[in-house]
């Protein structure tokens, strides 16, 4: 019986651990859902960073990112890393649209919120607030989790 009990404890721990990763925080603003908000942990000497997230538009209208603010950076804007003739280039994405019924995935090597003039360190396991504003849906404050991967 004791053995079963231990097994149960171990299993329940696993459930909780799995649930933690699967049911991560989701934010809703208007018809938009924002999930998987994270930033890569970087060395303390790093001068720039990137935030990734997935924005899903459940509505019938196009929406657009109109502003980003965070205490972590002097400047924050959406960039896109693009492969052009075998060279990775970063471009300022001026009008980032989130089409109805579609999702905008920001992930390494593609769209990202570029953090310039970092005001703090992107230390693994910490988090910081970031406010993202949409043209239609309005603005929402997100908690960005800093992690290695």
């Amino acid at each position: 019986m004791k053995k079963f009990f231990m097994l149960t404890v171990v299993s329940l721990t696993l459930v909780l651990a799995t649930a933690g990763t699967v049911f991560a925080t989701e934010y809703k603003v208007g018809e938009l859902t924002i999930s998987d908000v994270w930033s890569r942990a970087s060395p303390s000497v790093a001068k720039a960073g990137a935030v990734y997230m997935t924005i899903t538009n459940n509505g019938a209208m196009m929406d657009m990112i109109s502003g980003i603010k965070t205490s972590m950076a002097g400047k924050a804007m959406v960039h896109e890393s693009k492969m052009v003739d075998g060279v990775m280039k970063m471009e300022h994405a001026m009008h980032v649209m989130i089409k109805p019924g579609e999702a905008l995935t920001m992930e390494p090597g593609g769209f990202h919120v570029m953090l310039m003039k970092l005001t703090g360190e992107l230390t693994d396991g910490t988090s910081f607030p970031l406010t993202i504003e949409f043209k239609n849906a309005g603005s929402v404050e997100l908690t960005v989790n800093v992690k290695k991967k």
Binding site: T8, S11, T18, V84, M88, H92, P108, L115, K149
Partner: protein, 206 residues
């Protein structure tokens, strides 16, 4: 009764967990066609360089002869691609275990104006102690990049703030043999687990 219920829940979870892990293993063995396409037999590059390592020592490709080198070009102000690759390289080194002794990862700066020896040392060291940062004069870096056929350039994003420029650069990862000759070339986007597998295969084949 309660124990029994808990046990059942536990058992179900365990089954789900094992299933999930199994699926992950399967996925790992199934490279996407995109990933397959991104693993190349090395292009015929010379791969020569004469640079300064993050301890201030002059180095060339001969410095590392007898070991494989895993080389890519980037810069420390890079927010997205370089930290991603450096994290992957740290993962690869850890996964290689003892075999990582046979591999030296080199991060060559394409931005020597900002990437001084001391900045580089602190930067790469926080990803993995085995990674070596290389920098040099503008000419040194240009010569190295040319020898790897790597393109790069300065991009001023905001004309009002020209100091906060970014660098465009090739994001290929080069695996060089113990003789300094190119063995493999990986395009950006190959999964780190696939890289481990491919590099392991190269190391075992000699």
């Amino acid at each position: 009764m309660i124990f029994r219920a808990l046990f059942l829940v536990g058992l179900m979870t365990l089954t789900a967990y094992v299933g999930y892990k199994g699926w992950k293993m399967y996925e790992f063995n199934q490279l996407t066609s995109q990933e397959r396409a991104n693993i190349l037999v090395a292009t015929p590059i010379e791969g020569k360089y004469s640079l300064t390592d993050h301890n201030g020592q002059r180095v060339t490709e001969q410095t590392y002869s007898g070991r494989h080198t895993l080389i890519f070009f980037g810069y420390t102000w890079c927010p997205d691609v370089c930290p991603t690759l450096l994290t992957d390289i740290a993962f690869i080194m850890d996964e290689l275990g003892e075999a990582s002794d046979k591999v030296v990862p080199l991060f060559i700066s394409v931005d020597p104006e900002r990437d001084t020896v001391s900045v580089l040392k602190e930067y790469v060291g926080e990803f993995h102690p085995g990674i070596v940062g290389l920098t040099g004069s503008l000419d040194d870096v240009a010569a190295a990049a040319k020898s790897f056929r790597v393109g790069y350039g300065k991009v001023v994003m905001d004309p009002a703030d020209p100091e906060d420029y970014s660098m465009s650069h090739s994001a290929d990862l080069f695996l060089m043999g113990p003789d300094g000759k190119p063995v493999k070339q990986y395009r950006f986007g190959v999964d780190a687990e696939a890289l481990v597998k491919d590099i392991q295969a190269v190391l075992t084949d000699g």
